[in-house]
């Protein structure tokens, strides 16, 4: 059987494979950074950080236009983290992106650090908004997107929110506004890890069917396995090309993904990791990359 591939498509295939491998390596380093930070505190939102690492790797290593040395560059794409407690993941990604020095990560959550437990714009280069009080990211993203379009600036606005944040009415106020104003420069990313502070999302306040809800609000919505890098790349590419309405990528992620020790642990919003387990976690992460 002869190959149907032309030389161009073969190159495209190679490019795609190389692109995905580059993102996979970035995701590994983001997870390793997060484990290093988690060890400093001995506990924290390490489960969520590991779960969302692939999404952040695609965003920072592949999709986002930014200048690590100039975090206020006016033409940058904005990445808004409204879930402030995911700061550990964002710092890990900003270190990977070169916006903050990797050696600074060990100050995470310490007195006078630029890397507080909950992400705040006034503390950290590359952090666009102060999260923490949930349901703020999408309204602010709406304003940035309206403003950038008004100014003729082609930059895009990304907002990473959690499925728990779908409980907040303000998220849906902004969802209406983005659709009403046709803000196709907005991409919302919903991290569906199905876990909230008081337990599984399905038991706290049911939000499914999530995709149908966004579509009903007038959004172009896709849903993917948020730990499948090729699927994430394809989805982000499609959303970037979409015009006429805002886009949302719903990502089903696995808490603790990449570290079997933590993946299989009883699911907890705030995970405790024993001192001796951090090295095991690192070893398991390295093992996953080598496979």
């Amino acid at each position: 059987m002869t190959s149907l591939s032309t030389p161009q498509t073969a190159r495209a295939t190679d490019d795609r494979a190389e692109r995905i491998e580059r993102i996979r390596q970035a995701a590994y380093r983001i997870r390793r950074n997060a484990l290093d930070m988690g060890k400093v505190q001995g506990q924290g939102y390490i489960g969520q950080a590991l779960g969302v690492a692939d999404v952040l790797a695609v965003v920072y290593a592949d999709q986002l236009r930014f200048r690590p040395e100039d975090p206020h560059w006016p033409d940058r794409d904005r990445f808004l983290l409204s879930i402030g407690h995911y700061a550990i993941a964002l710092y890990a990604a900003l270190a990977e992106a070169g916006t903050i020095p990797a050696e600074e990560l060990e100050t995470y959550g310490s007195d006078d650090s630029r890397l507080p437990m909950s992400a705040m714009a006034s503390y950290t280069p590359g952090v666009e908004i102060s999260g923490g009080s949930l349901g703020h990211g999408l309204p602010v993203a709406t304003g940035m997107a309206l403003g950038l379009r008004h100014q003729g600036n082609g930059a895009r606005v990304y907002n990473l929110l959690s499925d728990g944040e779908l409980d907040e009415g303000s998220t849906w106020e902004a969802a209406l506004a983005c659709a009403h104003h046709g803000l196709d420069n907005v991409t919302a990313i919903v991290d569906v890890n199905a876990l909230q502070a008081d337990g599984p999302t399905a038991g706290v306040l049911r939000t499914e069917p999530v995709t149908d809800k966004w579509r009903a609000f007038g959004w172009h919505a896709l849903r993917v396995d948020g730990n499948d890098v090729p699927a994430l790349v394809d989805a982000f590419d499609e959303l970037r090309a979409h015009r006429g309405s805002p886009s949302v990528l719903i990502c089903d992620t696995r808490i603790g993904c990449g570290v079997p020790l933590l993946e299989t642990r009883e699911k907890a919003h705030f995970m405790r990791v024993e001192e001796h387990e951090w090295q095991t976690a690192r070893d398991q992460l390295q093992g996953g990359l080598d496979r």
Partner: protein, 351 residues
């Protein structure tokens, strides 16, 4: 039995009734026109509203600059979050709604998205205090109490159309966030008769007097001036210090005015809790001044629905009520202080 003519009653006024006195000079929609003038000089000025453009005088701006007006729908959290996002990319938004919604409903967004990053967002709240007879759902009687504790926020309570027209460019010039207690529609024009210019953060002595000093803010400055004129006819010499900026407060001017043996009276269109009266009282106490302060303010309760003139009389904001209160305070004793109602020694708490 003879039929009597039906007794004329004042009815609950429309939500957006004017509080201008009959025959008083007014200016139409001073905020909207001032914003238009500002917009012609500053292209980065934009306007937003939450389905209340028409009732906050924002429609004047919307009609003149449709491409710079953004309708956010009846969604106040989204309104203020969006305004923050627009300021983040360099625009200077004016976002209007009713005061009750800006403060009670969307405070988290005003606080965290706007004030914490110290953004130049100008929140414009209509129907402050008791300026509607519609009842507690629309009467923002405690907006100052809610907002005074918010760091970075500048708070302005204008007296009239002159104050509003001059405040709008000053608010845009101020680098941080602001909250304007909007008077809308046919707004009384009063301060042009005085040697006065609005200066952000500054109080202004509108008239001098030896017997009484009225320290007033917002529309109560209009009432203070009317009361002062009436008291003058009774040979009571009354000074009026207008305090349009509630935060940052012009404490120097207040201390100058209140460190005195005159009767000190505060006047505000706001609950007695957490507004001008307590700001003045704490300013005096923190400076070690023992001056007694007589507060003319709304009571600490949810107010009735009804016609505005009726309600202003009932709750002590009308000019008649102000005059009566000042006379009572002056007539009560030759010495204004210490207050006679206080026990000399508080009863110790029992165990």
């Amino acid at each position: 039995m003879t039929s009597t003519a039906p007794k004329k009653r004042l009815t609950t006024s429309a939500m957006i009734a004017s509080f201008a006195d009959p025959g008083q000079r007014t200016t139409s929609a001073p905020f909207g026109h001032a914003l238009n003038r500002l917009a012609e000089q500053r292209p980065e000025v934009v306007g937003l509203s939450a389905d209340l453009a028409k009732y906050t005088d924002m429609h004047v701006f919307r009609d003149a600059h449709p491409e710079r007006f953004f309708q956010m729908g009846m969604a106040e959290q989204s309104l203020l979050g969006t305004a923050a996002g627009m300021a983040e990319v360099g625009l200077v938004p004016f976002a209007s709604t009713y005061s009750v919604f800006a403060t009670r409903r969307a405070y988290d967004f005003l606080c965290l998205d706007i004030a914490e990053p110290n953004l130049n967002v100008n929140v414009v709240g209509a129907l402050p205090g008791l300026t509607t007879g519609y009842g507690p759902s629309h009467q923002a009687t405690e907006d100052l109490a809610i907002l005074r504790g918010c760091p970075n926020l500048t708070i302005v309570d204008p007296c009239d159309s002159v104050d509003i027209e001059q405040a709008v460019p000053a608010l845009a010039d101020a680098p941080g966030p602001t909250y304007l207690r909007l008077l809308r529609g046919a707004v009384p024009t009063v301060l042009d008769e005085y040697d006065y210019r609005f200066q952000l953060g500054k109080a202004a002595e509108l008239r001098t007097g030896r017997d009484v000093v009225l320290i007033s803010t917002g529309l109560m400055t209009m009432r203070a001036l009317q009361a002062a004129a009436r008291l003058e006819a009774d040979s009571v010499d009354v000074a009026v210090l207008h305090v349009p900026t509630i935060k940052p407060l012009d404490t120097e001017a207040i201390l100058r005015a209140a460190r005195t043996d005159r009767l000190v009276v505060t006047l505000e269109n706001h609950t007695v809790v957490g507004g001008l009266a307590e700001s003045v009282a704490s300013t005096l106490a923190f400076a070690g001044a023992g001056t007694r302060v007589v507060p003319i303010a709304l009571p600490d309760e949810f107010l009735a629905a009804g016609a505005l003139p009726t309600l202003h009389d009932r709750y002590g904001l009308s000019t008649d009520a102000v005059v009566a209160r000042v006379k009572a305070e002056l007539g009560g004793s030759a010495e204004h202080h210490p207050p006679t109602a206080w026990p000399a020694d508080p009863t110790p708490a029992t165990v």
